[in-house]
C-alpha cells in the first residue's frame, strides 16, 4: 500500500513515476513528456530565484452567498489539505534578479474555480504590481467561474478584466501562462488579456468545455481540439513552453521589458561607447 502511494501513474503513457522522478522532472513524465499536475507551491519554486518569494496576503472573509449546502465545510477542508488560503497563491518573487508579482492558480482548490476570493486575489495582484511598477505573471488553471457563489462569481470576470485594463493602461507588463485546464469564466476574462500569452504543452484551453460542445453540436470533437497546440495554430498563444524551460523564457521576457529608466541608461552608455 505504502509503496503504491509513492508512485504516480502518468495519465499519458501509464508509466509509474517515483517521487524523486516527479521532483526531478517537475511533474513532467520523462517517458512521454506529458505535463502532469504540479502544486502551486512547487510551481513557484520552479521559476523563482531560491528564497526570493514573499507571499502576499489578501484577507477575504468566507462567504456562502447561495447558502450552498456543505460549501463552508468543503472550503475549510481544502484550506487544510492544500495549505492555501484560497484558489490562488500569489506574492512577489525574483526571476534572475528581476522582480515580478507572481500568481499561481491551484486546480486542487475546487478546480481552481473563481469566486469572490479568487477574483479579489487576482485583482489585488494587479493593483500591487501597478503600485510598485512590477510586471505580473499569472499561471492560470481553472474550470471557470465558481458555481457555488452564483452571480457574484460572474462579476469577478468583470472585476479582474477591469483590473488588467487599468494595469495595462499604466504601462504594466502582464505575462499569462495557460496551464491545464484554463476554461470558462477564467479563460473568458483575465487569462486571455495578457501582453504575452504562453501555454504548457497539451493544456486544455477554451471557453465551453468539450462535453458541452459535443452535446450542442452532436458530434465528436476532432483530436487535439482546444489543446494548447490548437490554440497556437489559431493565433491565440505566443509560444508553447515546456515546464523545464519556463523560468528561462520568463526571465528573457522580463529582460526584454526592463523599465525605461534602465533602457535609457543603456542607450546612453551605447552612445557614449559609440562616440569613443
Amino acid at each position: 500500500m505504502d509503496e503504491k502511494k509513492d508512485v504516480t501513474v502518468c495519465s499519458g503513457c501509464k508509466a509509474e513515476l517515483t517521487v524523486s522522478e516527479m521532483m526531478e522532472y517537475l511533474c513532467v513524465c520523462p517517458h512521454c513528456g506529458k505535463h502532469l499536475k504540479i502544486s502551486a507551491r512547487r510551481r513557484v519554486k520552479s521559476i523563482v530565484d531560491p528564497g526570493s518569494f514573499r507571499k502576499l496576503k489578501c484577507e477575504v472573509p468566507f462567504l456562502n452567498p447561495l447558502d450552498y449546502p456543505g460549501y463552508e465545510e468543503k472550503i475549510s477542508s481544502l484550506k487544510e489539505k492544500t495549505g492555501l488560503e484560497e484558489g490562488v497563491l500569489f506574492g512577489i518573487g525574483e526571476i534572475e534578479g528581476r522582480q515580478a508579482v507572481i500568481a499561481v492558480m491551484s486546480s486542487d482548490f475546487l478546480m481552481g474555480s473563481m469566486g469572490i476570493a479568487v477574483g479579489e486575489m487576482i485583482t489585488t495582484a494587479f493593483e500591487t504590481a501597478d503600485r510598485q511598477g512590477l510586471p505580473v505573471i499569472i499561471f492560470a488553471a481553472s474550470g471557470g467561474a465558481r458555481m457555488q457563489e452564483g452571480i457574484l462569481s460572474l462579476m469577478q470576470m468583470a472585476k479582474t478584466s477591469a483590473a488588467v485594463k487599468r494595469f495595462s493602461e499604466h504601462g504594466g507588463l502582464y505575462i499569462a501562462c495557460l496551464t491545464h485546464p484554463t476554461t470558462g469564466g477564467v479563460s473568458a476574462s483575465f487569462a486571455t488579456l495578457a501582453d504575452i500569452t504562453l501555454a504548457e504543452p497539451g493544456a486544455l484551453i477554451g471557453f465551453a468545455g468539450p462535453r458541452v460542445i459535443e452535446q450542442t453540436i452532436g458530434q465528436k470533437l476532432p483530436q487535439g481540439f482546444q489543446h494548447a497546440e490548437y490554440l497556437e495554430e489559431h493565433g491565440f498563444v505566443d509560444q508553447i513552453v515546456e515546464r523545464k524551460d519556463m523560468r528561462e523564457v520568463l526571465s528573457r521576457i522580463l529582460k526584454l521589458h526592463d523599465r525605461q529608466k534602465k533602457e535609457k541608461k543603456n542607450l546612453l552608455d551605447y552612445l557614449r561607447i559609440g562616440r569613443k
Partner: protein, 311 residues
C-alpha cells in the same frame, strides 16, 4: 400554475382585442374585463422557476421591439469587420429623445425560423466583436451606450472556440470597463454566463422584474454541480438569480415592474418605464466628465467583493 394563468389571461386579452376591433358586444367585453381582473388578482409572488418561465416566454418583448418603440431613426449596423456578421447581436445608432445613442442587444427571434437565424440569441466571438466595434465607435462620437441583455449564454460550438470565444468576451469586459461614455444595461429576459456579461459591464444595470441573471443557465448549473440537467428547477431555487436577489447583492441598480403575468401582457408599460429611466440616467451623465464616468463604472465592479453581501 403560472403557465395556466398566463394562458388564460392571454386568451381573454386576445378575445377582448378581437371584440374591440370588430365592434363586438360591449356587455361581453365588460364581462371579460371583469373576469380578467378577478383572475389577475389570483397572481401570487412568482417562484424563481416561474420567473425563468416568463423570462424565456416566446411572446416576451425582444430587442428589436425595445429599439423600435423607445428610439427613433434607428440605423442598423452589421458585421465585425473581421470577416463575419453575427445576427445574434442586433444594434446600431438611434436617437433617444433627440440624443444620438448606440443601442444593441442579444437578438432572439419571435418564432422558430427567426430563432434559427439569430442562433437563439447565442453570439459567437464575431457577435461580441461587432458589439465592441459599435461601443468603441460610440466612444469616438461621445454617444451613450444602451444594451439589452437576453441570452442563454455564449454559443458553445466548434467554430466559436476556433475563432476565440474566450478572447472576444474578455476583450469586451476589459474595454467596456474603461469606456469613456456612459453604458446603461437592461436585463430583459435571461442573462446567462459570460455571454450576458460581455455586453453588461455597465455604469447602471436595470432588470425587469421577471428577468433572471446568473453565472450559468440553471440547466448548466445542475449539469456541472450534480451532473443532471433535469434538476434545473432545484437549481433555480438555489441560484439566487431573480431581480430581487441581485438587487440585494448590489449587482443591479433597479428593478422594472412588469404587468401581471409578465411583460408580454402589456409591453407598453415596460417601454414607458425604460424610457423614464433612460431620461433620468442620461441627464445625470450629461453633467459628468468622461473620466468620472469610466471611474464610476470601474468602482462599481471593483467593489463587488465580500462586502457587497450582507444579510
Amino acid at each position: 400554475m403560472i403557465k395556466e394563468l398566463d394562458e388564460k389571461l392571454m386568451a381573454i386579452r386576445t378575445e377582448v382585442y378581437d371584440l374591440l376591433e370588430n365592434n363586438g358586444d360591449p356587455h361581453r367585453i365588460n364581462e371579460l374585463k371583469k373576469e380578467y381582473l378577478t383572475l389577475a388578482k389570483t397572481e401570487r409572488v412568482h417562484t424563481p422557476e416561474e420567473r425563468l418561465y416568463l423570462a424565456r416566454h416566446k411572446l416576451r418583448p425582444k430587442v428589436d421591439e425595445y429599439i423600435n418603440t423607445i428610439f427613433d431613426d434607428f440605423f442598423c449596423q452589421r458585421g465585425d469587420r473581421l470577416g463575419k456578421e453575427d445576427e445574434s447581436i442586433y444594434g446600431g445608432v438611434a436617437l433617444f429623445r433627440g440624443i444620438p445613442v448606440t443601442v444593441l442587444g442579444h437578438r432572439k427571434g419571435h418564432n422558430l425560423q427567426e430563432n434559427m437565424k439569430y442562433n437563439f440569441g447565442m453570439p459567437g466571438p464575431e457577435g461580441y466583436r461587432k458589439a465592441l466595434r459599435m461601443m468603441k465607435q460610440a466612444e469616438k462620437f461621445g454617444r451613450p451606450v444602451i444594451t439589452f441583455i437576453d441570452t442563454p449564454g455564449a454559443y458553445p460550438g466548434l467554430e466559436a472556440e476556433a475563432n476565440g470565444q474566450s478572447n472576444a468576451i474578455s476583450e469586451n469586459l476589459a474595454e467596456m470597463s474603461a469606456l469613456k461614455v456612459p453604458i446603461i444595461a437592461f436585463v430583459t429576459g435571461e442573462g446567462s454566463s459570460g455571454g450576458a456579461l460581455a455586453i453588461g459591464v455597465a455604469n447602471r444595470v436595470y432588470m425587469l422584474e421577471n428577468a433572471v441573471y446568473s453565472v450559468l443557465s440553471p440547466e448548466g448549473f445542475a449539469t456541472i454541480l450534480w451532473k443532471d440537467s433535469t434538476r434545473s428547477g432545484e437549481a433555480c431555487d438555489l441560484m439566487k438569480l431573480t431581480a430581487q436577489d441581485l438587487f440585494g447583492y448590489g449587482v443591479i441598480d433597479g428593478i422594472i415592474k412588469e404587468p401581471v403575468c409578465g411583460a408580454h401582457h402589456d409591453p407598453v408599460k415596460v417601454y414607458e418605464e425604460i424610457d423614464r429611466i433612460l431620461m433620468k440616467e442620461l441627464k445625470r451623465y450629461r453633467a459628468m466628465s468622461a473620466e468620472d464616468i469610466a471611474k464610476e463604472r470601474y468602482k462599481k465592479f471593483r467593489n463587488i467583493d465580500a462586502k457587497v453581501w450582507k444579510r
